[in-house]
């Protein structure tokens, strides 16, 4: 990755209004999640007298069906949603890059084996697996991260493998190989750096889909367990009050939408930023 490429990326990011907006949204949500405790309310403290208070001065986002402050629940929920999204992205990317590089670099029977495995896993409908796993593993944040990561590493592996195959054939790599570097050294010094763009783009898109998966699972009641909330589980309970308190459904839904949207926008900008390298994809 040379300097000009980063420059290119920077200008893409900041000249594009959407990009700036996406960064801003993510910054606000992340800060909100980190400093959630500043909201002044315990997100799990129930107040039977203040059920379903409309948004207003005391409770900016109103209160939910147990009288819990909705803003602080949304902030703490964001903490879980973002954490799960980020962590499963890290795990998935790590596994995906490992498999992809090994498969692409070494080729032969190892490649064959890994790719057949991948085919099999990919031919099981992913959401069904997601449901199965989350019912059978005890629902906890850690397990949720692992489950979601397990379903996302395949795409990274595919892309990384393809990219590794092309990098491998570059002259400087062939030269380095001829000069007797170890396989590990080769991968570390020459292959991985070339993979950075695809990894970054893949990772950004993965966060988006991880957050989406987490919220779908939580929405169906299989995700993070109460009293803790995530945006998805908040939507689940909000559904029951849609007629009398539509704001309950509005806030968490908007937050998921904005977050996922931002990551998707960023992913695309990054991809364009890394052009022309990635233009063919």
């Amino acid at each position: 990755m040379n300097r000009s490429k980063w420059k290119n990326l920077q200008s893409e990011l900041f000249t594009n209004g959407l990009g700036v907006a996406a960064l801003a949204v993510l910054a606000i949500f992340t800060l909100g999640a980190i400093f959630a405790f500043l909201s002044g309310y315990d997100p799990n403290a129930m107040d039977a007298m203040a059920r379903l208070t409309k948004p207003g001065a005391g409770h900016l986002f109103g209160t939910d069906d147990y009288g819990r402050d909705y803003l602080s629940r949304a902030l703490y929920g964001g903490r879980v949603s973002l954490l799960v999204g980020f962590a499963s992205m890290v795990v998935a990317t790590f596994v995906g890059v490992m498999v992809g590089v090994i498969s692409g670099y070494f080729g032969g029977w190892l490649d064959n084996l890994l790719m057949r495995m991948l085919d099999i896993i990919m031919s099981i409908p992913s959401f069904l697996i997601l449901l199965l796993l989350s019912v059978y593993l005890k629902p906890s944040i850690g397990n949720l991260i692992i489950i979601i990561a397990l379903l996302m590493w395949m795409n990274v592996a595919r892309v990384v493998r393809a990219e590794t195959l092309t990098i491998k054939e570059r002259e400087y790599v062939l030269y380095a190989k001829a000069s007797g570097q170890s396989s590990f050294g080769m991968i570390w010094r020459h292959i991985l750096p070339g993979l950075v763009p695809v990894i970054i783009v893949g990772a950004t898109n993965n966060i988006a889909s991880a957050i989406m998966m987490e919220s779908s699972l939580s929405f169906l009641g299989f995700g993070v367990q109460p009293p803790n909330a995530t945006w998805g589980s908040m939507l689940n309970s909000a559904q029951g009050y849609i007629a009398e308190a539509p704001y309950l459904a509005l806030f968490p839904g908007l937050m998921i939408l904005l977050t996922v949207l931002s990551f998707n926008v960023l992913g695309d900008i990054l991809r364009v930023g890394f052009e022309p390298k990635l233009i063919r994809r």
Partner: protein
């Protein structure tokens, strides 16, 4: 060609076998016990054992697997642990609802996506493109269940225009009635598919517009819209075929969330019930069935693709 198809078909068998092993292992490793859903506080221990025995759950896991395979080969996919009915029958009973919903959602998405994608691609970086692009961003980023709730709120609760749940008004047997019930879930799903399709078509339109034949048409003085809809469209339809093939996998499992929200009586809601009741023959049945659709879908897409564009060799 025929040989290739046969070979691809034969390849799906070991794939399905592995899928079933993976799925079965996962279920068996899980801590839950399906017998528990039958246990009552004052059952004798031997009553519980009797139930376990009757369901064949007292045998070692690999034997259970072979029994399941046997049922599978005999063509009924085994029997549900809960209501003891053949699994295949239950799946087939629910299939029309899911297939109808998904089929029309995909069709709707394609019909909308083609003009949108073409227009966006032809007007790259102009406001139309940016607008369509933004809509498709929203499309891939919006949680479908949220969209479902919002639409339901608007059309069923506020405006009372459409029913909120189910597939039929009770006692009414008319396609129109089913259609009316299907509008909301179908729109939700179509919106989800739409975004992906539009982006795909847009980028291949951009690619096509750089091709020589387009330049030649321009040189002949053809109008832009003529070029777009008469010539580019043909080439753009190719990737759509692949897309459709890939959507086949979603046909079965993809609608779980939407079916849940709208109480649509399809395979998704059957799957939800099975997962909750640890009804493993049903779970296995649905998983295998959707894997099969996924694999076949991809295969059909490959084959069709090679028909339309002979330059592409069919991968063995």
């Amino acid at each position: 060609m025929r040989q290739l198809i046969v070979r691809r078909l034969l390849q799906t068998l070991p794939m399905l076998f592995f899928v079933s092993v993976v799925c079965f292992t996962m279920i068996k490793l899980a801590p839950g016990d399906p017998v528990l859903s039958f246990v009552t506080p004052n059952m004798h221990a031997d009553d519980i054992e009797r139930i376990r025995h009757n369901l064949g759950l007292d045998k070692p896991a690999y034997i259970q697997y072979f029994i399941w395979i046997k049922e599978m080969v005999q063509g009924n996919f085994g029997y549900s642990l809960i209501n003891h009915q053949p699994v295949l029958g239950q799946i087939l009973e629910r299939l029309p609802a899911t297939a109808g919903l998904m089929g029309s959602a995909i069709a709707l998405a394609v019909i909308l996506a083609i003009p949108l994608g073409l227009v966006a691609g032809a007007n790259r970086n102009r406001w139309v493109d940016k607008l369509i692009n933004f809509i498709s961003y929203v499309g891939i980023s919006i949680p479908l269940f949220w969209l479902a709730i919002l639409l339901m709120y608007l059309f069923a609760i506020k405006l009372h225009l459409l029913p909120s749940m189910g597939m039929r008004t009770i006692g009414v047997e008319s396609p129109l009635d089913v259609l009316k019930h299907g509008i909301l879930p179908c729109s939700v799903l179509a919106f989800g598919f739409l975004a992906g399709y539009v982006r795909y078509i847009r980028s291949s339109t951009i690619g096509q517009l750089k091709e020589e034949y387009v330049q030649i048409q321009y040189a002949f003085g053809s109008k832009k819209s003529t070029i777009l809809f008469r010539h580019v469209l043909k080439h753009v339809l190719l990737p759509v075929i692949t897309l459709l093939g890939m959507s086949m996998g979603d046909l079965v499992a993809g609608a779980i969330v939407t079916e849940t929200v709208f109480s649509w009586p399809g395979i998704g809601s059957l799957g939800m019930t099975a997962v909750k009741g640890m009804d493993y023959p049903v779970i296995m049945g649905i998983t295998l069935f959707s894997s099969l659709m996924l694999i076949l879908g991809n295969m059909v897409a490959d084959i069709l693709y090679s028909f339309v564009d002979p330059r592409i060799k069919l991968k063995g």
